[in-house]
């Protein structure tokens, strides 16, 4: 094999390797708190840096999925001296049981925190049985 041929082969293998190492889609899992009250499950998730309109909360087939797109402010004159804030989009998926009233799930977003209220349906609710 000629020298050029070898170089081309090495380059092709490097490219293939680089492609394999690339993650398909980069995202971060936002931190969540999940707690339960008598009427509902409440999920709170830290998603700083996203706009309210870029958040999506979807419930289907026993799954709850939350996503949020980070707003990238691209300015050519900006030189990042120090960077800890993750620039990937938020994504997280949860399994939800049958006890959720899916039609009445509510979500709000304040100060970078997404709150999702998942009301329990009749089968899930704690019922007090009075003693006669």
């Amino acid at each position: 094999m000629t020298k050029n041929g070898q170089v081309a082969l090495v380059r092709r293998e490097n490219d293939a390797l680089a492609k394999r190492m690339e993650p398909l889609e980069e995202f971060v899992m936002p931190a969540v708190d999940i707690f339960e009250t008598a009427e509902a499950f409440i999920l709170m998730s830290d998603m700083p840096g996203v706009l309210k309109k870029s958040i999506s909360v979807q419930a289907e087939a026993g799954m709850l999925q939350i996503t949020g797109t980070i707003v990238q402010v691209q300015n050519e004159n900006v030189n990042l001296l120090y960077s800890e804030i993750c620039k990937a989009n938020y994504f997280r998926k949860f399994t939800i049981g049958n006890g959720i009233d899916v039609d009445n799930i509510q979500a709000k977003f304040d100060d970078g925190v997404l709150t999702v209220v998942l009301p329990k349906n009749e089968t899930m609710r704690v019922r007090e049985i009075p003693i006669k």
Partner: protein, 154 residues
């Protein structure tokens, strides 16, 4: 009667992404040794919000992730060129007695400090809190701004 079950395959699904996050974390750690940013220690507070520092033509911008923090609970001080951001993230009071299934978010006090270059206009520092991110704008003094000097060729 727990609603959200731990799903082992979900963690597996994020595995490649985690590896790259880890790599980034390691790089960050090594980078920080050679840079002038004060590394936070655990003694400074209960948690460490993530910070970006950017330099623009006319200003420096410090961004801090503070989701769910009341802006009245944050204090920004400047003392002999050291910018300090400290505050507290309070847990929701009404939820204290509730049954928790997961608790991953950080609560408690935090503090981060940065040594500013002397070329910052100390009296013109501005801070804004929006969508969980606190942005502090530090305008550069005139002498630190980039200048274009035209040189005439004779």
């Amino acid at each position: 009667m727990s609603l959200i079950r731990w799903n082992p395959t979900r963690d597996l699904a994020t595995f490649p992404s985690d590896i790259f996050n880890m790599q980034r974390e390691m790089n960050k750690m090594f980078d920080s040794f050679s840079r002038g940013v004060d590394e936070p220690t655990l003694l400074n507070g209960n948690w460490m919000p993530a910070v970006d520092v950017a330099e623009e033509d006319n200003e420096y911008v410090v961004k801090i992730e503070l989701p769910g923090v009341n802006k009245d609970d944050v204090k920004i001080t400047l003392e002999s060129n050291i910018l300090t951001i400290r505050g507290e993230k309070k847990a929701e009071k009404e939820t204290k007695e509730k049954n928790y299934h997961r608790m991953e978010r950080s609560y408690g006090s935090f503090q981060r400090s940065f040594t500013l270059p002397t070329t910052v206009k100390n009296d013109k520092i501005d801070a804004e809190y929006r969508d969980g991110i606190l942005s502090i704008t530090l305008p550069k003094a005139e002498e630190a701004k980039p200048k274009h000097i035209e040189v005439k060729v004779k």
